[in-house]
Every structure is written in structure tokens, then in C-alpha cells.
Amino acid sequence: MSTVLLAATKVDLTVFVAAAVMVLAGAIGVVVSGNPVHAALSLVLTLFGVAVLFVAQEAHFLAAVQVIVYAGAIVVLFLFVIMLLGVDEHENVRRDPLRAQRPLAVLLGLASLAAIVLLAQGTDWVTGARSVAGAASGPGANVEKLAESIFTRYLLAFEVTSVLLVIAVVGAVVLARRSGEATEDEPEEAGVGAPAGGPKGSTT
């Protein structure tokens, strides 16, 4: 396998190694950093690294969307919630609440990683029919081919996706709506999921 890697050009190799280091460093940073703000910033590093890997594989549109949607919107949403709730205090990551859970988790992770890599290697990494939904390479821009595929072959899925987005927005508004003065010792009331103008929401 290493001869295949060495056969790649220097530029490709450099880009891949740099992006892989970014991805893995960011991922490890998310897991080990005690401060949630640091974890969110490490997540940005990983997302940029994945975007670079998308560009290296000629998925230009997805790389742009990755940066705009993930790094630009989702991480900002995470940071907003962290700041809004004031949960940015340092969590003691050294403390293990369940005895032997941490080594077991790492062990299971390594076992599943080994299983994935060995299974994929056993089947020569890739099998099956090629270019079922249309060719990814060839003449024309990446975004054109992607758009043609989404708006013809996957049109129904695209429309269902828009419905899903509307449902998510409505659900977020219903969840985040302040339902009266809810305190910690107050029993669970139906106000969280109740329609607007409920008995508690209308008093404020």
C-alpha cells in the first residue's frame, strides 16, 4: 500500500497529510478538552480538514457547503448555546464516573476500528457497480453534475428534505419558547410542548 501512496504526487501527498493531521488533531481536541468552547473550536479544525479532503477528491460544491453550513452555521450555533447557557466552566475530564468505563470504551473503539479496516481490506476496499447515479468525473463542473443528480434522480428525497427542515425549524421554536417561569423544583408541566397561548405562556 505504501508504494501506491508514494506513487502519488508530492502535492497530493502533502495536502492529504496536512488535512489528515488537521482532522485528527481537531477530533482528539474535541474529545479531550475540558472546556466546551475549546471543543467547539477544535471541531472547526476538523471540519476544515474534511473540507480540504473534499476538495482533494473533486467534491468542490460539498467542500464549500461544508465550510458554510458546518463551520459557519452549526459551530456558531454550538457556541451560541454554550455562551447562552453559561456552561463553559471547565469539566474535569480526568474524573471517571463509572469505574473502568473509559478503558473499555477505548478498547471497544480500537476493536471496531480494526474490524472496519480489516474487513474493508479483505474485500479490496471497494466492490459493486460503477457510475450508477451518473459519472462523477469527466467534463463539466462538479456542481453541475451534482445538481443534475439531485434535481432528477433524487428529486423526491430533495423535496422531503425541505419538509424536514421546516419541521426542524418549527420544532426548535416550540422547544425554545419560554413557557412561563419554569424553575428547577417545579414539576414537569405540559407547557413545553403545548401550543402557543397556553396557560403559562400567556401570563408573561
Binding site: 474529545v31 479532503l53 471497494v126 422547544l175
Partner: protein, 101 residues
Amino acid sequence: MSIDGSWYLTLAAVLFTIGAVGLLVRRNVLVMFMCVELMLNAVNLTFVTYARMLDDIGGQALVFFVLVVAAAEVVVGLGIIVTIFRRRAGATADDLNLLKG
């Protein structure tokens, strides 16, 4: 010649493993959520790699849908987290044991 796809797939598997281990190890619900994002990104990278290896645009179209679903998931998940945090101060998943008998 570009990098062989197996290297991308191995990297994606490592990224997925880190996300899964982080989900198991961490107690802060927000960081657990970020670990889910790591796992989703690993799957996206796998899809794009297979799209290149099989010369199939369908893999990239699927990544597009995964991105949309991930955005919707983050919105609803963070809404739920905000609602939980409004009722209690703790930031750990171990404190959320209301359903425990």
C-alpha cells in the same frame, strides 16, 4: 496520480472511532453532541471517497442530504438541550435520570 482511496477510508474510520469513543467517554451533553458531528463527518468523508473510487455522483448527492439532516438534527438537539438546561444547572448527562425507576 492522486492518493489511493484506501487512505481516505482508513482516515474516516479513525475519525469515526474517535467520535464514538468521545461519545462514550464524555459527560457534557454539548461535547457528546459534537462527537456525533465528528462521526457524521467521518461518514461524509467515506461517501465522498467512494463517490470518487466508483466514479459515482450518487455518493456526493447523499452527502448533501446528510448535511441537511445534520443541520436539522443540530437545531432540534440544541433546542432540547436549551430546554433541559433551563430547568437544571448541571451540564452532565449523568444527572438526567428522571426516567430512572
